[in-house]
Symmetry: D2
Subunit: 342 residues, 4 copies
């Protein structure tokens, strides 16, 4: 197969590093350009010594050069910036796979409410495909602009959409408690993230209004066949490098049984390479999925309260970001979906 020539724009953060780790082993990807304003001119070995073998160097982002020299571009930028690249790249015929949040929300109002700016490129929204392969695989095959889901979002959607779609729980009153490792905050140099402030610490944050909340609500509503829904998403920071554990509490529908839940998951994910559903009562562990693109799911029906409990674990940088982006890339370009992924 011909190799796809790719650019990674914003390659010096943790999501960028993970993309580099994965794509550098991808037999059908040819990394042509990696950009970083801050590190332009530096050899990759200076920033990510473990990737020294790739021989790559960071450059300043150059839209024209990428347009003419690449077939696809991964964008790993802070929100609000992706469109500066997405727009010209799409116009030039490239496929854009965006890891930022800019093209995930359907609603401009929600975008403004949670990101505090007007959406910078509303015209692109209609062409964006939500990059969760387990729910949007067919659309991804032909997408020009793929908006990769947020990390927390992925961990909550995979267990919960299958249950809502099967009408096994109520879409009202859903609560999701998540715990994330510190790379989830990005490669951010800020006091709350230095080692002594995170180690031996557990803390909730962003408990009513985290930016991933409207994205979760949007996709759960789609799964439930509703125009919208409201739920609680409560993230916590825990002292690990990688991994998200999400615990989702739902009101079980009448007649819901653990067998029915197992069946719904089997139907949804029986053929999925990257979703592993455990038997009832077995619970997932973030360490089971570290550095893999897998989502591990457990569940338990609590008969004494009538709650259905869902549990999921992903690696926030892999299935929660760059691994899923590569999975999308593989789907889009017709490669076996698991290429370069485990």
């Amino acid at each position: 197969m011909d190799k796809v020539r790719v650019a990674i724009v914003g390659a010096a953060g943790y999501a960028g590093e993970e993309l580099l780790r994965l794509l550098s082993r991808h037999p059908y990807a040819d990394i042509r350009v990696i950009t970083s304003r801050q590190n332009a001119g530096k050899d990759i070995a200076e920033i990510f010594p473990r990737l020294a073998g790739t021989g790559l160097s960071f450059s300043m982002p150059d839209v024209e050069a990428i347009k003419s020299g690449c077939d696809a571009a991964f964008l790993a930028l802070p929100h609000g910036l992706a469109h500066e690249f997405a727009e010209p790249f799409i116009n030039a015929g490239l496929t854009v796979i965006d890891i930022s949040a800019d093209f995930r929300l359907r609603s401009l109002d929600q975008y403004k409410k949670y990101y505090k700016i007007d959406h910078p490129a509303p015209g692109l929204l209609s062409s964006a495909v939500y990059g969760l392969p387990e729910r949007y695989r067919e659309q991804i095959r032909n997408a020009k602009l793929i908006a990769c889901p947020g990390c927390y979002v992925t961990s909550i959607l995979l267990p919960t959409t299958a249950i809502l779609a099967a009408k096994l729980a109520s879409p009202e009153g859903i609560v999701a408690c998540s715990m994330s490792g510190v790379t989830g905050a990005g490669r951010k140099v800020d006091l709350p993230y230095i080692f002594p402030e995170c180690n031996e610490s557990v803390r909730a944050y962003g408990v009513s209004g985290h930016r991933h909340l409207p994205e979760i609500e949007q996709e759960l509503a789609v799964a439930a066949g509703l125009p919208s829904l409201s739920m609680n998403f409560i993230p916590h920071l825990v002292p690990t490098n990688r991994g998200i554990q999400s615990t989702v509490i739902l009101d079980a529908a009448e007649g819901c049984t653990e067998e029915a839940v197992a069946d719904a998951f089997a139907k949804a994910y029986g053929n999925e390479r990257f979703v592993r559903v455990l038997p009832a009562g077995k619970l997932p562990d973030t360490k089971h999925v570290t550095l893999t693109n897998c989502c591990e799911i457990g569940f338990k029906l609590d008969s004494h309260t009538g709650k259905l409990l869902l549990f999921s674990c992903i690696d926030n940088l892999t299935k929660g970001a760059s691994g899923q982006a590569v999975q999308d890339f593989n789907i889009r370009f017709g490669f076996p979906e698991e290429t370069a992924l485990v």
Copy 2:
């Protein structure tokens, strides 16, 4: 003041170590006996080098010797064993402060259901006082048998009972998600607790039927003025040594406001030395309470779902076990409540 002569039965676990740490600095406690079947005869320096300065040695538990030589006994034993000591000690006039679970539950049925054995000493139950000072201080003053609350339980009761007592939230459908450090499992030598299995790992466990569940339900029902209630308690293991973070999600009562919540907390805990309530929206952190007897509480009313979110952090070995036991000891013997505690 005269010193109280104390024994610590089962002193070689983490709760025992924490008791020793605290009592060895207590100006009115005279540690006469520390027992450990496994370590009898060993100098404390062999087991807990940091306590070498106390000059203590472990002995086999000797009921008669303790009866005649001590005024109070702390029991830090696995469940099912405490009565073997509690009964003779109480009969001999000693005050017993039990850190195990044996005298916490009012219901023999619940005890049997969750601990899988018949209660070994039902006759003692009626004399047991639940050792949560913030709710049972007066009874503790005259107690002969004090049943110290479980660690998770303490972290959930402190924020939640005040809210239920003030009728600011519904007692139905309560969900508590907790995250605990690994000392919560005791000094247990078992595969799931070795370092490489816990480090870089987050996992839920015991999600429908943890032994702390009936204890939480019992005390929340008391606070709500109900004969009983059912709720979900979902514990998670995170890679820290110490600390519990509990997130409690309740349906806010009609008309509940953040001001009303702040007032309820001020009323309940305004004079409490070991409860620190943060302003609305500020969230607690386990590292703020490590090695202290404090419970740090935060809260947030989520107007878009009508849920009231409570957050609390304690050190599981201090306020969650041995610190609270010392606080009870101070109350019972008339010492300033904060003696030997920070």
Copy 3:
């Protein structure tokens, strides 16, 4: 290429898990048998959920079945047991790659002194090849029995042998201080290795007589062209899962310069895929090599004392054990040396 049919004997420890992780992605290895006395009959998903996709199950070790059905066997057993498998397998024509310590030492006396038993199969020793590819690649190509180096040993030999061979430092008075993550102790369920005993802890151990000492001395003597030498090896346990950092202090030879050191390393490792030598003064980091088969090396000549300081980092389970075993396997069977390795 035809696939090589392999068995992994003793596959339920951390080295076994790492072998499984690597070989399950190896395009030319066909894992036929994985054995574990303790877990015989269990599906791999129960023990190593992340490897569920391999569909393997543990069986009791069956020498006859392996002899007739496999071309190569990896042994990941405690010392003293490997010969029970190595002998019949070699006689049956299989290639044996042993991760245990049994065939590393040339001297039966040293084996007895450090392992406290008579060597169980001295007759096999002469046919064993020491499996450090960077020094014994040619012999590995034709070996029937490959003795993979110890983890600490690998981290110390790679920087130090090149320097001794180039006569840039004295072979006398060498000191190596190493720090290892806890998987280095194996999947061992023992009090010193439970999370709360390792977390927030740094400690030296085995400081005069660790079992890796005679192995280091043996190979450093070979590199120095001496019949034997004595040195100090001082291991420390640090709270990480994976990784060894070794700091080696040597007396620089007269006229030794940093340029000469860089040249010696370039000559020794310029063509090596799995050794990365940093510029003078740049220091390695265990996180740069996690889950890779690389050894990262740094150095510094301290002019004020005349000491040459060498630093190296490896992943103890990859280059320090199973990755190196796979590298040996690749060499032995003529596959590209980096197959299934990064």
Copy 4:
């Protein structure tokens, strides 16, 4: 006893926090002023929630106010700044206890070489007393300016000076390998110190020219009765919050035995409250000394190389900084040396 009125200048770093933790429990210290340019005006609860109970607030440093209102000042400032406070305070009759590096080195040349600036107040140097109580207790009793030793320095001097003073090892060719937790870098917001860069990482740094090197050399020379000596000090960063483990390798003197070493330590530290020497072959652990002012020391004579190995563990913020400062304060003002310390 009358309370001593104290100021803490630069109280918002980790050493400042530790001083606050200790002094807030000190029965004879009255904390009058805590300064922080960055946090002036803020309540302590905002910066260090666990110290909320002290009721203190940060102010801008005000030399005149401190001069007139305090008896002693602790300085916890970066190097190069202490003299701005030390000079006027001493002139006004206050006792100054400086945790910075500015008054530790006797040699202005060494100061300039390692700190890259001319010493800002050479006139004060002659009045400075080196604040290591185990070696300079008598001078500390009457000191006006106490220069508290560096953290690494303390961990190396305590085991090594006793051995050199007893002539049990050569002062030549000493090597010290140390491992420190991340608070050792201060509360520094810099990429190498964010959680994901430190967790699962071990790395050497500052291996030939760390600022603590000349200080160690100076004091070891004093102990050995030499005008100067040269040695190697090699620090490593490990993923813990607190704790330093130092391993010191020396050439044992002829006739040195483990008994002689034990005797030398007994003589040096038999009456010391904060030095705990373990029996030969037993090794210290940083977790044994966390949050205490103790130094735990182990040793081993390696007969096969003739090296004497010393091991020590301290809490870098307590005995390595603020605890030692409080110990000095207690000595200086005639309080029992262990007041407020464990």
